[in-house]
Symmetry: C2
Subunit: 431 residues, 2 copies
């Protein structure tokens, strides 16, 4: 078998065999197939597509390119979740404690933010001392002992995916549904997941802009899961406006803690309860979604969910005094409330524009490796569909750079649109 024949086959639109895909991924991981051949192949995949069968074989080849975590001695059914990323998406910070507090051990490997989209690890690192670099041994030990883990992707898992993703990033081959789906699913499978809840975001602030695209990605990941013998459920949720009110790392941690205490924005709380319920059903902790949701709500009321979050932070070296008193979390030096310039119904809070403004504030990264400022961000006080009166607080900017304030104010205001007539609220979930 030769790499070039596999490139030519995909170039000519042929379906690759499992053996060809395994040969290619193994050779690429070992460095026997050079980057330039993998780049040409990735472009051919992007332009000519892959069948679900090919995508599944690619997923499994990447999942098995390194160590594969075996969690069966810790938990009967290891349940993982994945969000396709968005603005204000701090769901994991609440869902993991909810699920763990119900008695289902849950460990998750998350990523960092890039571009307009935030990252769970960056949020957790607002808490001084919190470690995101657990080894797989530490991961398993903590999952067994504490029942909850939230760390970074281990480098031993799916190294082919890490290498291919880095190459795709610089060769214009990120935006391929089969390559996105196999990248996500290979990490989940290598991480030992038996069941996966996918939260596919759709809208202005998501990678998938239309419901059709999101449905295609979700459908493909469900197909991969089924073909690979994993239980997968996919939710399609709105990302036209930011989720909850807070956007920015420490601000989002505060909002997550509020939510664990029974407060927090209604949309965000509802979102977390639904995701948690699906995980509990998948993990056979609860017989149906209704009872699962009830169980999850009960962990908020009892304080068990908040205790799990505390235990998580403590286990990973974080200073729990910041969790107990979120006012200690990093705070910005400039806090400016922007009032509504007119009255009306809120018609749009463009999540993408808010996400990009957050990058300008320093809350996110324009490119990999950029430092971030955990303190800065936005709190958006109103949701689409709400009535707003002129002069009412619309959003609050948390900033540390006075020189940029005018530009940030202009960006934030441009994200918002009003209507003279009533506007229907955006749905939380589409499907």
């Amino acid at each position: 078998m030769r790499a070039i024949d596999i490139i030519v086959a995909k170039r000519d639109g042929r379906e690759l065999t499992r053996e060809e895909i395994e040969f290619f991924i193994r050779g690429f991981t070992l460095g026997e197939i050079p980057d330039y051949q993998a780049a040409a192949w990735a472009m051919a995949v992007l332009l000519n597509g892959m069948t679900p069968r090919e995508t599944t074989d690619l997923t499994l080849a990447m999942a098995h390119s390194g160590a594969v975590l075996d969690l069966s001695d810790v938990v009967d059914i290891a349940v993982d979740k994945h969000s396709s990323g968005g603005v204000g998406d701090k769901t994991t910070l609440v869902v993991l404690p909810l699920v763990a507090a119900c008695g289902l051990p849950v460990g998750k490997m998350s990523g960092r933010g890039l571009g307009f989209s935030g990252g769970t690890l960056d949020k957790m690192e607002s808490i001084p001392g919190y470690r995101c670099d657990l080894t797989t041994d530490e991961f398993k030990r903590q999952l067994k002992k504490v029942g909850i883990v939230l760390t970074g992707q281990s480098l031993d898992l799916a190294p082919a995916d890490g290498k291919l993703y880095a190459l795709r990033d610089v060769t214009g081959t990120v935006q391929s549904v089969p390559l996105i789906a196999s990248s996500i699913m290979s990490k989940k499978i290598a991480g030992g997941a038996h069941a996966i809840v996918l939260d596919v975001k759709v809208g202005l602030g998501a990678f998938m802009q239309t419901l059709d695209e999101a449905r295609t990605l979700a459908g493909l990941m469900v197909d991969i899961g089924n073909l690979a013998g994993r239980k997968v459920v996919a939710l399609l949720s709105d990302m036209n406006q930011p989720l909850g009110h807070a956007v920015g790392n420490a601000l989002e941690v505060r909002e997550a803690i509020d939510t664990l205490h029974g407060g927090g924005p209604a949309d965000f709380r509802e979102h977390c309860l639904q995701v948690a319920a699906h995980m509990l059903v998948q993990g056979r902790c609860c017989p149906d979604l209704e009872s699962a949701r009830y169980a999850a709500e009960a962990t908020i009321a009892s304080g068990a969910a908040f205790e799990k979050f505390r235990a998580l932070v403590r286990a990973q070296g974080g200073d729990v005094s910041y969790v107990d008193d979120p006012d200690r979390l990093p705070r910005a030096s400039i806090i400016e409330v922007i009032p509504a310039l007119r009255s009306g119904w809120l018609a749009e809070v463009n999540a993408r524009t808010i996400g990009e403004a957050a990058v300008s504030l320093g809350a996110g990264r324009a490119k990999k490796g950029d430092p971030i400022d955990h303190a800065v961000g936005f709190v958006i006080h109103k949701k689409v569909g709400e009535r707003v009166e002129q002069g009412e607080p619309l959003l609050t900017i948390h900033a540390n750079d006075r020189g940029k304030q005018a530009e940030i104010r202009r960006m934030a205001q441009s994200a918002v649109e009003f209507s003279e007539s009533p506007v229907r609220p955006l749905p939380l979930f589409y499907e």
Copy 2:
């Protein structure tokens, strides 16, 4: 400007600007744009195509990526020729002396054979001492003094093309009409050509298998020439059966020398006269094709063409005693005449099969850098359309490896097909 944006633009089917193409080729030549980005870009070009304007800009960017030969102090109109390659195509060995003997100085940089297709340099190196590595200074000096040059591609000329071609070869991106056309034309323009005669081969033994493909390639190269201010004429000629009778390096040199002496196969002689006539008209040496053809024929009759070939060999260090007595050229140890197994009209002599059998004999290369045996090859005694009687000599194998003889015999026989009813001869030229 960033390389990735140019890759993404081509991925999404956008037409690239001249500035984008120049930026990409300059960066790639300097090594600032890595191979993996160029590979992804080449695959996007292959799958999404390029307009004639883009292809012309690519051609000129590659032509100007290194030194550009200026021949205007040697010849008013520098005329070059290019054949797209085939089996038994020794045309250059005859055409260059014909044209030079008519008084038009002509210098050409040629290539080596790869796969089923032979290479002019390999043929010339059948003559002991013949040098194919002239510097550009030696090239110009010899063109001025002797009026004829036939050497290898100089590394100073169009280095971007050399680098891109090597990358395309290992990334499945050779078979792209815009990339093939720009590769050919960039070398010709960097070589100082003011006018170019393109001999595009079509058929079983050519890279272009159908008349449509060949027409597309020829049309694009003519467009590039016109847009770049060069005079270009393209001929489409048959490569279903080998050109002439001889296939194999020394055998072809012998056939070329026979032709220069007024003998040689009728089809090959006619082919050479037509190509030479077009070059003479383009070089304003003759007013029209008819007079040009007459002039070229006259140089055979007078012995002037053969003298030019001798002068060429001498100038480049070759031993002219081999030209004067071609029986001294390398000879194979096994010479086996294969008779026709049946009577009938010859319906096919598959040039591709013959070319591949020649590689098996050692006359060509399976991969770059393989050594070749100048002595071996085939002489095919009949052309498609001729009547052949059972037992008549059909072809002669010239071989040096007795162990392979049975396999070679089988391959050669499988290339030949007979018909019970008369068959029309193949045309020499299609357009």
